[in-house]
């Protein structure tokens, strides 16, 4: 009886200690620096042979979420995404994915784990690398600052607008 009382007391103490630990952590979190947003428009670029001129923002989101994985001609869509810390990636995560880094990571891990996609997005580390791979991979799609686009790739209209036009949604 005495042992049981002691055990229950110990359990309560342990539960209280753990609850206190979480409560303290909940109200103490170190600050983090605000990330800067891109100041120029972000262009959506595809491989030259991809037969697409315009995508609605919903269609673009569906492609970036890998809910649509094929172009209309049945070419597989290959998504190229900039590595973390780039302004372009931050902008796309905010505007298209509406996710933060942690949610984005969890989304793709879950997507692969559910066997819905055979691979995650290919990671690119610079605008030059983006251009090089979009040029080389049929079906690829990516994004970059509009003022860095070259004629090696095709720029897709979003909601009927080019990055230079008023009302372009990815500004």
């Amino acid at each position: 009886m005495h042992m049981k009382t002691f055990k229950n007391f110990g359990k309560r103490k342990a539960t209280f200690a753990i609850a206190s630990f979480f409560a303290v952590l909940l109200f103490w979190t170190p600050g983090s620096a605000q990330e800067t947003a891109s100041e120029t428009a972000i262009a959506i670029v595809v491989h030259k042979d991809t037969q697409v001129e315009n995508l609605s923002l919903e269609e673009l989101r569906s492609i970036f979420l890998a809910n649509q994985q094929f172009w209309p001609d049945r070419t597989r869509i290959i998504l190229l995404v900039r590595a973390p810390q780039s302004d372009e990636r931050t902008f796309v995560l905010n505007s298209i994915y509406q996710m933060d880094e942690a949610q984005f990571r969890q989304y793709w891990i879950a997507k692969m784990f559910r066997a819905e996609v055979p691979r995650g997005p290919k990671i690119v580390f610079s605008t030059d690398m983006t251009l090089e791979l979009v040029l080389a991979i049929p079906g690829s799609i990516s994004f970059m600052r509009a003022n860095e686009v070259t004629d090696q790739v095709r720029v897709v209209r979003v909601d009927g607008k080019l990055p230079s036009e008023a009302g372009y949604p990815l500004k």
Binding site: K11, A14, T15, I18, A19, F22, L25, L26, T29, P30, G31, S32, E58, R61, S62, N67, Q68, Q69, F70, R74, R76, I78, Q98, D100, E101, A102, Q103, R105, Q106, W108, I109, A110, M112, F113, R114, A115, P118, R119, G120, K122, E132, L133, A136, I137
Partner: protein, 362 residues
Amino acid sequence: MRKFARAGKVFSCLFCALALQPALAQHSMDPAGTDLSQPEFHVMGFGDISYISREGSDTDGFAIGQAVAHLSASLGHSFGVFGEFSMTARDTEYSAEVERLIVKYEFSDLLKLSAGRYHTPIGYWNNAFHHGAWLQTTTSRPEMVKFGSQIVPIHFVGGLVEGNIPVTDLGLTYMAGFGNGRHENIARAGDAGDINGENAWMFQLNTSPSKYYGFKAGVGYYQDVVSPAAEPEVDEQTFSAYVAWAKEAPEIIVEFIHSTHELASDSSVSGDVDGWYAQFAWRLEAKKRQWKPYARYERNRIDDSDPLLGDLGLDYDGGILGLRWDFNPYAALKAEYRNEEFDSNGRENNFRLQVSFVLAKL
């Protein structure tokens, strides 16, 4: 002991593969990754360790959850292989299991064909989180879809057709499956073939409208003839429905299943099963984003007259309150208070603390 040694070898190989993943990725004739006809492999691992305290129990303590390895291989543009392998701690040994093994050919977004061992497409949870404790907000699955559940056939072996239905903006997708029904141990799939020649089949329709980004809902139907060990055959039909708001603030999942079991030889002997749960979570804002409080209420009711499940004491009524702390991008700590009642045997207060993690390169 021999079984343990064999399972250990399997998992040693899988986790060696995980450790060697960067080396495997680099060993390619196409270092830039531009030639997609070349095979591409990805390995992930999931695991969890819990401290469980149950009211009135003398066995409080730590428990190793499932160690899970997931492999996916893209073998060209349209052909892929997926595998999920687990190792689960039992009282005296570890058991190894092929949880999922799927070969898939994708013709287009409209038509994808696959065959293998799946998590049965019933409801939401069974196909959303699989064996990844880190992926789910809570420490455990709802009781009706827990691993080893007899209420819902968690696994099935067969073929699946799936794809998008692009007729509206509703984001409709379908899944239709055909395969082996339950084993004579009704908690298991018919891995070695259908035991009574009456295949199971299922259909699920899902919607995730682009206008309501984050929203997902679906309905499904599953049918089988079950032959439990030393018991007469039972016709089984299950209807399922779910609604999920998958954004983190809030996260809402509500799922419902209704099953009817009827003795094949006498339709007057029958019974119903109703199971549902509602889960609510909220990822905090800004600097508190690592924190996610959550709650869930669930309830399973089985008619005593049910010829398949009526005698198994599976009634359940439970509520949980918890807090998830994502202290690392690949790991989370969850603390959970549970108030549960199993088979109308009185309520009990339980507590779980769990650390779960994913080993992934993204």
